[in-house]
Symmetry: C2
Subunit: 321 residues, 2 copies
Amino acid sequence: MKEAVIGIDIGGTFTKYGVIDREGNCMAESFTNTTTHYNFDDYLKDLYDAIEKNMQFLKGQVEIKGVGIGAPNGNYYAGTIENAVNLNWRGIIPVSEKMKKYYPGLTIALTNDANAAAIGEMVFGGAKDMKDFIVITLGTGLGSGIVVNGDLVYGQDGFAGELGHINAHLNGRDCGCGRKGCLEAYASASGIRRTVFWLLAERMIDSELREVNFNDLTAKMISEAALRGDKIALEAFDYTGWILGSKLADTVAHNSPEAIFLLGGLANSRELIINPTKKYMEENLLPIYRNKVKILLSSLPDMNAGVLGAGALAWNELRRL
Amino acid sequence: MKEAVIGIDIGGTFTKYGVIDREGNCMAESFTNTTTHYNFDDYLKDLYDAIEKNMQFLKGQVEIKGVGIGAPNGNYYAGTIENAVNLNWRGIIPVSEKMKKYYPGLTIALTNDANAAAIGEMVFGGAKDMKDFIVITLGTGLGSGIVVNGDLVYGQDGFAGELGHINAHLNGRDCGCGRKGCLEAYASASGIRRTVFWLLAERMIDSELREVNFNDLTAKMISEAALRGDKIALEAFDYTGWILGSKLADTVAHNSPEAIFLLGGLANSRELIINPTKKYMEENLLPIYRNKVKILLSSLPDMNAGVLGAGALAWNELRRL
């Protein structure tokens, strides 16, 4: 019987899940809605039922060895989701403990979504042969998973690796965390949208983005405008790359990683974001680090990177046993 | 026979060394001059002879198991000193390899001085029970040793942990590395001296420091003036703590350490530097990290912290074998 794990990616809107073998093949994949349940126990029961139903066809072929979960504010040490502002469940939710009732005897592990992406990159992706690297997710916010000496950096409390909240600008833009000037207020799919609106105010040049209102604007639209040569869109990418690249230079001074992988909505702009980020990172590096650190696109498919990451977390735990 | 290691701390001016037992007791300690030798081989021969002579009285009582070396720009992976601007020897010096000829069969390890201090703190000092912490040396420059999951962070190239060169001020003060605005241009014994001179220019209030020229001014004098209530000196400590504390908040967002230890010249000002650093770090922390991270004085004696650190490095290597 083939061995596999279940990977669960709890997002603000959808919960995606899949059955992942040791090579990273996803044998059954589907999703449920995260927002419909205000009671976590009800959510978990429905999720379990949905998973069971969807993997029915694998019975007898696959032996499930563990369950990996990626979630916002997921705490690896405690197996909890703690005060996640984009989920319905308040306070501290003992997810792993509750999950054990549905999967008795199995290895269950939970971490935050960006950490899961980093483990996914290490186990199944472009970081297979790396011991020191960083994954940056550029979505609504900026998430990060840091790997040092082949292990995820969790710190004393399980919450290490919040690069979205290092300071990028003294008294800068409001951040969702209640402070000002955090990196994710600039370098994220939402951040570049804010940068476009700031540039539309600063500059007097034409731009197709002057026809779009704030709420309708997406990173994809900015990317498409840039590819058509729109000067505001191009400057927005340059500015975003400057902020991100110069801050990543400081991160390199901490960890000297072999590579930094970009993933998520804004990373889909590919060279538009990679090139200025790399350029400004190099310009700001201490000489000993220059021309050593790769900026790469994640090799995990964006669509199910979360599920693969969660599955990789479970496999990684099983390996350590 | 008692087991011990030799710890060697190569500094810009002096090379200190000692025989260190497993408990961190220093049984023989002395120093030579680093600056008198322009040829590394000559330096090493004289150093070896001096060590042999000084530990003559321990023969028959002590069995030397290894040699640990802390040095500026020391590369742990390669056992080399690489392009150290404050030493006479240019280029890449294969220190461990050359040392092997004098100590055949022994474990020999080399790292940079701040990393050695961090290992000293872990093996003999205040971080004995910690797996995630950082040591910051505040001397002429700012050095750092970062420990994650109980291991030093070396990164892909052996040069991780250069927090002295993260950016503290866009287009700020000239730094010895050739760039501008690096943290060590503000937060170090030299940095606070520059801050005093900047404040003497900015402010019109009296200060005993108006009687001192730049070259004569020391961190100790600033510290003594502050203790006497000198307003310029007090503001200089506040400003230094603001820069250091706000940057350490970003470092916490990387690693979430249990403690940050301060060591070296400026750390001897104790509460004068600890208090504002702690205050501004807390003010700049993401809420989940608040009131969790200790700012502590190193518990290694400043006088031989380098030698103890180098000895701890050797013991740590022996433990890993």
